[in-house]
Amino acid sequence: MATVHSPRIKAKHQRLVLLVIALAVVLLAGLLAAWALRSQASYFYVPSEIVAKPPEADRFVRLGGMVEKGSLKTAPDGVTIRFVVGDGKSRVPVSFSGIVPSLFVEGSGVVAEGRMQPGGTFKADNLLAKHDENYVPREMQNMTQAQARKVVAETQ
C-alpha cells in the first residue's frame, strides 16, 4: 500500500485501526438490520398482539403461547379439540382437528398455524409443540412441588 503516513506510525497499526473501524461499521450495519427485522422476523404472534391488532380474516398467521390449564376440551366427534392460548395478558380460543404432537399438553407452549375466524376463534390447520428451556428427568415430575423447587434451585 502506497499510503502516505508519518514514519512513526507502523503499517500494522494503521491496518489495525482500519480494521477496527471497518468492524465497528459492519457490526452497526448488522445490528441495524436485526433491529429492522425485530417484528418481521418473529415466528409467531402472541395472543396480546392478536387481540390488539387482529389480522385480516383469511390471512394465514401463527399464534404462539401457553395452553391454559383446564381449557383443553375434546369435541363429541373425537378429533376436534378446543383450548385457550394465553400469554398472561390476553387469551385466544383455538380449535383444531387432527393429530397433536406428543408434547402438546396443558400448561405447555404451542404454536398454532391457521386463520382467525369472524367469531374471534383461531382455527388452526397445524399445531407445533414448543419446548421450553427446561430439561428435567422423568423422576423429578413425581416429586412434590417443594422438592422440585429445591432441586431446581440447586441446579441453578
Partner: protein, 250 residues
Amino acid sequence: MHGFANPARFLRLARWLTPLCLLPGIAIAAVALAYGLIWAPADRLMGDTVRILFLHVPAAWLGMAGWMTIAGASVTELVWRHPLAAIAARAAAVPGAVFTALCLATGSIWGRPTWGTWWVWDGRLTSMLVLLFLYFGYIALSDVARRDGGNGRVAAIFGIVGAINVPIINRSVVWWNSLHQPPSITMGKSAIDAAFLWPLLAAAFGFTLIFAGVVLMRMRAILAEAQAEARLRRKAFAADEAAEAFGGFA
C-alpha cells in the same frame, strides 16, 4: 506469537499437540455420549429424544466457534500478516461446516418428534442455515485463492464480515419469537438438570478437543502440501534452466 511464524517451529509443536488433543477428546466425547445414550435419565416431556442433546449442542457450539476461529485468524492475517493465520482459517472451515451440518441434522431429527415438524423458518434455524452457507462460500473463496495464487485477502474479509452472523444466531431466540427454545445455559445459570448438564458439558469439551486436533492436522497437511508444491516448482525451474543452457549449444 511471531515465534511460530517459522513453520518448522510450528510443525514441531503441532506434531505432539495433535495426538494430545485428539486422543483425550475422542475418549471424553465417547464416554459422555455413551453416558448420554445409555445411562442418562429420560426427560419428563421429551422422553428418550432428549439424548440427541449431547450431540446437538456441542455441534452447534463448534459450528459457531469454528467461524469465530476463521474470523480471529483472518484479523491476524490482515493486521499482523502472520503466515500461519490464513492456514489456520482455512483449516477450521471444513470441520466448522461439518459440525454446523451435524447441528442442523440432529436438530431436525429432534424437532420431528418434539415440535411435530422437521423444519421451520424461525430465527434460530434460519440463521444457523445461513452459517452453513457462509461456510460453503468461505471454503470456495479460500480454495480459489489457493489454486489461482491469490493472496486470500478476499476470503479473510469474508471471514470477518461473516462473523456478524454468530451473535445473531446467539440472540435470535431472545430478539424474536421462535419455535426454538430460549437459551438454557446463560451466565452462571442453567435450566438443564444436573443429570443432563454434566455429560453435556463433558461432550462439549471432548468435541472441542477433537475440533482442535482436526484443525492442527489440517494445518500440517496444508503446510506439507505447500512444501511439496514449492519443491516441485523448484525442480521444474531447475529443469527449465538446464534445458535452456543445453539449448544454447544445440
